[in-house]
């Protein structure tokens, strides 16, 4: 495969990064960048391929975070790797929790779906505040802190996020190549027509949603373990949802690498600004401005626009300049 070598190189570079850069603050930025690449890739399965703009994904991020925290209230973390080992279970549990949600929410479409899912987000946040017996409410929940060497404390979390990113990309790639991917693209284009040619649209949508929120929940689990303390307003944070959407829109909806590109541009910038300007939340203005800019200049995102341009240039080269102009 033509793309295998660059992809392997990209992953190798990411794997070598902790040995090239050791400053903890840079490692933290890298860690969050990977996390957002995972989240954006996960969101893309539903928002990009199927065209269902979920604004509720942060609820599943929080669900994964709380699942992890609650589990280790009662269990030891051993040498510190146990919280990573249970991630597949967290992912399965969150995916299962996503099924009934998707079954109801995906009866609505486009803007109504966005509203239904953002409602879900606030319901989840309210539950996290008020189910004190389980979540300790506004007090927050502690995770045990592993005794990793301080100098390389971020590394295990970094590699966990990298593993999740590779998993998310492999899964997205497999979905695109499968009949599920074809069905999702058909749903995005014209769901009623898709039903009319026998596409099991309900199952396709449920499947995409479960995969998407399962990955999202696993990222939440690593996040909770890394921070070792989670609060409802950060575990179920509308800004996490907005970041996912913005990254996918910037990079290119429904493409394999667009969400990664979007995350690699926006997440470091946002983290850097947060370091520079502390809690001023000035970066929110940046978010809004960037969103407007993307919508105006690159409504389809960077990668589809580039691909289109490249394809047209090649067509022109094939046909020759004098015939390339469309006849009236």
């Amino acid at each position: 495969m033509r793309t295998a070598a660059p992809v392997a190189g990209f992953v190798a570079l990411l794997a070598a990064f902790p040995f090239l850069v050791t400053a903890p603050w840079l490692m933290t930025i890298a860690l969050f960048t990977l996390m957002y690449a995972v989240l954006a890739s996960a969101w893309n399965l539903v928002g990009g391929y199927a065209g269902y703009p979920s604004l509720g994904h942060a609820a599943f991020f929080g669900l994964g975070a709380y699942a992890e925290a609650i589990w280790f209230q009662h269990h030891g973390i051993g040498s510190g790797l146990a919280p990573f080992a249970v991630l597949p279970l967290v992912g399965l549990a969150v995916a299962a929790a996503g099924l009934p949600v998707a079954w109801i929410a995906m009866r609505t479409r486009s803007d109504v779906f966005a509203i239904v899912t953002i409602t879900l987000l606030f319901v989840a946040q309210t539950l996290a505040y008020n189910l004190r017996g389980i979540t300790h409410g506004a007090q927050g929940m502690a995770m045990p802190v592993p005794d990793f060497a301080p100098a390389t404390f971020e590394r295990p979390f970094y590699y966990a996020m990298l593993a999740l990113l590779v998993f998310a990309l492999l899964l997205s790639w497999a979905v695109l190549r499968s009949r599920l991917g074809l069905a999702l693209l058909a749903v995005r284009a014209d769901e009623d027509k898709a039903r009319g040619v026998g596409v099991p649209v309900g199952t396709a949508k449920l499947g995409a949603f479960a995969l998407s929120v399962g990955i999202t929940g696993m990222a939440g689990g690593v996040w909770a373990y890394y921070l070792s303390f989670i609060y409802p307003q950060f575990a179920v944070d509308p800004l996490v949802t907005i970041a996912m959407v913005l990254m996918v829109f910037l990079g290119g909806r429904g493409t394999l690498w667009g969400p990664v590109l979007g995350a690699f541009v926006i997440a470091p910038a946002q983290q850097y600004l947060a370091y520079q300007y502390g809690a001023s939340q000035l970066y929110l203005l940046g978010y809004a401005a960037l969103f407007v800019l993307v919508m105006l200049v690159l409504p389809r995102g960077v990668l589809p626009t580039l691909a289109d341009r490249w394809r047209r240039r090649r067509l022109r080269a094939d046909v020759g300049p004098e015939v390339a102009v469309e006849q009236p």
């Binding site: 991917g181 074809l182 898709a194 040619v197 099991p200 199952t203 499947g207």
Partner: protein
């Protein structure tokens, strides 16, 4: 006489105070190309929507192959051999021409985990594209097709399921005369191999050439049916079309 392949009994559908389909009953016999004509607003497209599960009927029954369909669902009906085209051709513009056929192969949900194209599907799709003269466009996005080509593609895609009954909603509306003949040729070819058709069409020349019998609707109900020749001279039909 055997049970009709498709039968509607007393079918009714109201939109607010308007009865779009009002006690409509008729049958489509196996092996026919049945024409469904009537003035604009007589309920033909609504009837298609009811029969294919896009709308839920308020009254009446739909029987496919003698068996009542309690809750029509487009995807399930498609897999049972009943499918339709739309007045404005609906294809998936982002998918390639070939993928538009592959997506229509009608597999149940477990196939979602499998590859985009099973070996048999790809062969069937390519054969259909060759039959419909679209083979050269197989790898192009469907959005690049002309209006007439989209109509052909939409029709061709349905044939991936080897349907028993195809409902065509104005298959030649808005296309050039050459394309009308092409479409007619394809319908005839498929009819010859055993597919039954129910065709809504405003081109009376085509209806008279192609369809037998012809069902005439007006005001949501059937006002006449029979061989094209007799329908053509039926005073009730003339009255409906010319007004009186």
């Amino acid at each position: 006489m055997t049970a009709p392949l498709l039968e509607v009994r007393g079918l009714g559908k109201r939109f607010g105070g308007v009865a779009a389909v009002d006690g409509c009953s008729f049958g489509v016999q196996r092996g026919t190309v049945t024409g469904l004509i009537g003035p604009n607003g007589s309920g033909k497209t609504t009837l298609f929507n009811l029969v294919t599960g896009y709308l839920r009927a308020d009254a009446g029954q739909i029987l496919l192959d003698g068996r009542r369909i309690a809750r029509p669902d487009p995807a399930r009906l498609y897999r049972r051999g009943l499918c339709r085209t739309f007045q404005q051709p609906r294809v998936f513009p982002d998918l390639t021409v070939l993928e538009n056929l592959l997506i229509a192969s009608g597999h149940r949900w477990p196939a979602l985990a499998g590859p985009r194209a099973r070996a048999g599907d790809r062969a069937a799709g390519e054969a259909l594209l060759a039959e419909f003269g679209l083979a050269a466009l197989a790898a192009d996005p469907a959005e690049e097709l002309s209006y007439g080509q989209r109509k052909l593609l939409e029709f061709a895609a349905l044939l991936m399921s080897a349907p028993a009954l195809v409902l065509l909603d104005e298959p030649t509306a808005g296309v050039n005369p050459t394309m009308v003949r092409t479409m007619e040729r394809h319908i005839r070819a498929r009819h010859a191999t055993g597919t039954t058709f129910l065709v809504v069409e405003h081109d009376m020349g085509l209806v008279m050439r192609l369809c037998d019998p012809v069902v005439v609707m007006d005001g949501g109900r059937v006002i006449a049916q029979g061989p094209p020749g007799s329908v053509q001279t039926d005073p009730r039909v003339l009255d409906a079309y010319l007004g009186g």
